[in-house]
Symmetry: C2
Subunit: 210 residues, 2 copies
């Protein structure tokens, strides 16, 4: 099994942290986004969506899309589950993870891709060209602000994003915070004390360096 990834890719990091948490032994194959290796014929043959990460199983099956890769790894290696065990746990974790991704992670991504000069006509990752929309970047920053407010309310009532236990929703939220802090200078708001306490806890886990 091989994971094609890029060191600086937040989506790749979401999978790397899950792998580190579960202690899985998976071969990492770097894809150099700086030299646009994801658009090479060789990589396009692996994942025609030309994005990282991509998981390739030993039988050649290609799995793209972060939540699908995470789901495969958690189902195939059920020790130390991060996506839940019972149907109810799986659904509740999936619900929170999706909210964090749509409202937090995707907001940071949209804010960056719709403004950065090097991504002109690459406002959406994938095989098709899309022009940047600066107004969308601004709206996405507003959305991230609302995400931070909602996350604070949630972490005042539960120790982790999806409830009592650390889960993939915490991984997505941790990567979102770091992405927002480093990518668009929007760290956790000063007054978000529950979020800051949660962040200290999850960022201190050994997996966070993955």
């Amino acid at each position: 099994m091989k994971l094609y990834h890029a060191k600086g890719s937040p989506n790749s990091r979401r999978v790397r942290i899950l792998i580190a948490e579960k202690g899985l032994d998976i071969e990492f194959v770097p894809v150099d986004l700086g030299s646009k290796e994801q658009f090479s014929d060789a990589y396009r043959a692996i994942n025609p969506r030309v994005v990282v990460p991509t998981l390739v199983l030993d039988d050649g099956t290609v799995i793209g899309e972060v939540p699908a890769i995470q789901r495969y790894l958690d189902e195939a290696y059920p020790d130390l589950p991060l996506l839940g065990v019972t149907p109810k746990e799986k659904a509740v974790i999936a619900m929170w993870d999706r909210r964090v991704e749509a409202e937090g992670f995707a907001s940071v991504m949209d804010a960056i891709r719709n403004t950065v000069a090097g991504l002109k006509d690459r406002a959406i990752s994938g095989p098709h060209a899309y022009e940047q929309i600066p107004a969308l970047a601004e709206r996405s920053k507003k959305r991230l602000g609302n995400f931070y407010g909602d996350l604070e309310a949630r972490l005042k009532e539960a120790p982790f994003v999806a409830g009592e236990a650390f889960s993939v929703a915490d991984i997505t939220a941790l990567v979102t915070v770091d992405f927002a802090t480093n990518g668009i200078a929007m760290p956790i708001p000063e007054d978000a004390t529950a979020t800051k306490a949660w962040y200290e806890k999850v960022a201190a886990r050994p997996s966070a360096t993955a």
Copy 2:
């Protein structure tokens, strides 16, 4: 178990079709979007995200977000699986379903919510107000066009979106096509013969009327 839904809501329909396919006996509770019932105190107490659909389990657990609801139902009632059985099947179906949703379904939603007069300042569903961005509606239509092209290529190589069997990815794609046809007058392109043949097949299933 109760499903709060709205007849005209494409996201509600995604869950209703899955329920019909699996033959589940679930109480449907209508939410009148026309009179903005989703913003009522009563509904806000059920789902603070003020969107439909919402599944409420008999123990009071609230599950929002379509893929999370679908996941719960498919895991809790494993007969007639629509999200896969093995870890590999689950991941491959999740991958295709997510692509259809992000590139197809969400494109139609963005095209509508960023232009319709009645949704001014409601460009994103949920508890927060966001202004409309007409340029995003235009870009989303372009994205839907690319989605149709990619779907045609996929359905030339496989009978169903995720492979050999009907799955939740077909439900998402069917609802996307109907939503695009009725909502923004973008039906399946004339020359997309594989997609048209697939559509005839899936739209003829009894579940499609749900």
